[in-house]
């Protein structure tokens, strides 16, 4: 597989920022500080250009006509698939294009789940799952009268924000779904370790990984990962909205019945029956988001030119700095393993022990910092920061099961990516101090 090329040029955030037109925007007198990357990432000019070029110069429907133009469009679409496949170490046929992570997971729930999960089987998910990787399984369990089990999230001590490693998979487990990265806590789950544990304790378990918050940060080798399915969204890794991916092991995809029926997914249609197209077309009914797939390939190329490892190091540095500074504000609670487990007090404790960030922990989290300020609702915090053109997310982050676990209705969340700067973290911290003053 194509590993990212190690680039010798050092990480130059100002140069990177120049690639993102939106970062030039002013809101009033303020520059935009976009700290909401876990919701969606901004687009570099290279991606915007790739979309424009496809529409301006190569646009046609794909897979359908013999015109030169149709061939160009089809080639662009299929070569985008190759780029994605190489990026995650997979075979091209194993890459199914969808609209987003949610659709990818629903595809597995409807197609694989419907065919394989029976009454009395167990489905295991986690308390830190995004609704996209929770509701489909909850509904499948209800439909099939299967059991639904949640792996708890630790909320204190060294293991704060981690999945409970002592969880035992019920023997009747058929499916285990979990997030590669928590979109609230920034926790990175060990895909291999968890997959092996699940398959050891409940042989035959199929493993689905929600990679929406993982793929933007890590170089992947999916066939070696231990997972059977991995879902992710292009829009969170600088790609276009509407570009989603489902990777699945070829043997499983071959056996799996289709999800959506219609054009493009057939090999032959007779009045009484239909045979399905080969992979991956079997799972891509109708006209695909070809332009968005082309844009996603441009995003992947862009990120690889900079290097995902360097991006990850950069965002962790910002998260550490943010945790360190936020922890100095009395009344701030930080959640999860970020910055350093010792910053995070889990509940609404106030014992902010400022320790040096533990670099060894860097691989175990991404640049996401969830926090609250005593006596202030996250929504109000977000609204006041917005006044300074600081964009964060406040709310339950589509993770209400986790909010329940953390015993909060909502949190604020700052999430960093390649183009963020220390100065933006300073603005965030000043902003939080201003909120505190307004509410005091």
């Amino acid at each position: 597989m194509a590993k990212q090329k190690p680039s010798n040029a050092s990480f130059n955030v100002e140069k990177i920022r120049a690639d993102f037109p939106i970062l030039k925007r002013r809101f009033g007198k303020n520059k935009l500080a976009y700290l909401d990357n876990a919701a969606s990432a901004q687009k570099p000019q290279a991606v915007i250009d790739a979309l424009a070029d496809f529409y301006a110069n190569h646009y046609s429907n794909v897979h359908r006509s013999v015109s030169t133009l149709a061939m160009e469009a089809t080639d662009a679409f299929e070569s985008a698939r190759e780029t994605v496949a190489q990026h995650v170490g997979a075979q091209t046929e194993e890459i199914v294009f969808t609209r987003n992570t949610s659709e990818s997971i629903n595809l597995v729930a409807y197609a694989w789940g419907n065919a394989n999960v029976k009454a009395g089987d167990a489905i295991v998910i986690t308390e830190m799952d995004h609704h996209s990787n929770l509701v489909p399984w909850q509904q499948l369990a209800l439909l099939k009268k299967a059991e639904l089990h949640y792996i708890p999230v630790e909320d204190a001590g060294e293991q704060n924000g981690q999945l409970d490693a002592d969880f035992e998979f019920p023997e009747n487990t058929k499916l285990f779904a979990f997030p590669h990265v928590s979109n609230v806590l920034g926790t990175v789950n060990d895909i291999k370790g968890w997959s092996q544990k699940a398959k050891f304790e409940a042989p035959g378990t199929t493993v689905v990984v929600d990679g929406a918050a993982g793929a933007p940060h890590f170089q992947l080798d999916l066939p070696a990962s231990g997972a059977d399915f991995y879902a992710f969204s292009g829009h969170k890794m600088c790609g276009p909205m509407g570009s989603g991916v489902l990777w699945g092991k070829k043997e499983i995809l071959q056996e799996m019945p289709p999800f959506l029926f219609g054009g493009s997914m057939i090999s032959k249609v007779e009045k009484e029956k239909t045979t399905w197209a080969d992979l991956p077309a079997k799972f891509e009914a109708g006209t695909p988001n070809a332009a968005d797939a082309v844009g996603l390939a441009a995003a992947i190329n862009y990120l690889n030119k900079i290097g995902l490892k360097k991006i990850h190091d950069h965002e962790i540095k910002l998260a550490d700095y943010a945790c360190e500074e936020l922890a100095k504000i009395n009344g701030v609670t930080l959640y999860g393993p970020n910055g350093n487990a010792s910053y995070a007090t889990g509940k609404n404790g106030k014992d902010h022990v400022a320790k040096k960030p533990n670099v060894e922990k860097a691989q175990n989290r991404v640049g996401i910092v969830a926090f609250n300020l005593d006596g202030v609702h996250a929504h109000d915090l977000g609204s006041i920061l917005d006044q300074d053109a600081i964009a964060i997310r406040s709310g339950h982050h589509c993770a209400q099961a986790l909010m329940e676990r953390l015993n909060v209705a909502a949190t604020a969340r700052a999430s960093f990516y390649l183009y963020n700067t220390q100065e933006e973290v300073d603005r965030l911290v000043q902003g939080v101090k201003r909120v505190k003053k307004i509410f005091s």
């Binding site: 609702h377 996250a378 929504h379 109000d380 609204s383 917005d386 006044q387 209400q400 209705a409 909502a410």
Partner: protein
């Protein structure tokens, strides 16, 4: 715009909300939530009669944790509606709430500002054996 939203009056109602709590044996109650942030509110109504025999809000309380905007809105609105007839409640509009709050509500926070109105109206309609059939937000 956002700072203007956090005038003292709003913050006072947030920190010391009026009519917070619950009513024993309410004539109507309704809980609702803001799906954006997970905030929840539950309203309790006691229905009485005015001099002309028209059904009015005799007492009202609300429960729930929310942001400054939704809490202040619930606090003020519950003050406002005491003694109003059910028909008057049905006729309340979003603009009435905005006027009552007296601060510019940014578009992202409209749902927060109107959550209590929505719950109060739904409780009144439920009391009348009807369904809230209008879009409050």
């Amino acid at each position: 715009m956002s700072d203007a939203m956090y005038r003292d009056q709003i913050l006072d109602h947030y920190k010391h909300p009026h009519n917070q709590g619950h009513l024993d044996k309410p004539d109507a109650r309704f809980s609702d939530n803001n799906p954006l942030c997970g905030d929840e509110i539950e309203v309790f109504l006691k229905i009485g009669k005015d001099a002309k025999g028209k059904a009015i809000i005799a007492d009202v309380k609300f429960k729930g944790q929310g942001c400054a905007i939704s809490t202040a809105s619930a606090s003020m609105l519950t003050d406002e509606i005491k003694g109003l007839t059910l028909d008057q409640i049905k006729a309340l509009t979003r603009d009435d709430v905005f006027k009552m709050l007296g601060v510019p509500i940014s578009p992202a926070r409209v749902k927060c500002a109107l959550l209590s109105l929505k719950a109060i109206k739904a409780a009144v309609y439920a009391y009348l054996g009807q369904k809230l059939n209008e879009k409050v937000e």
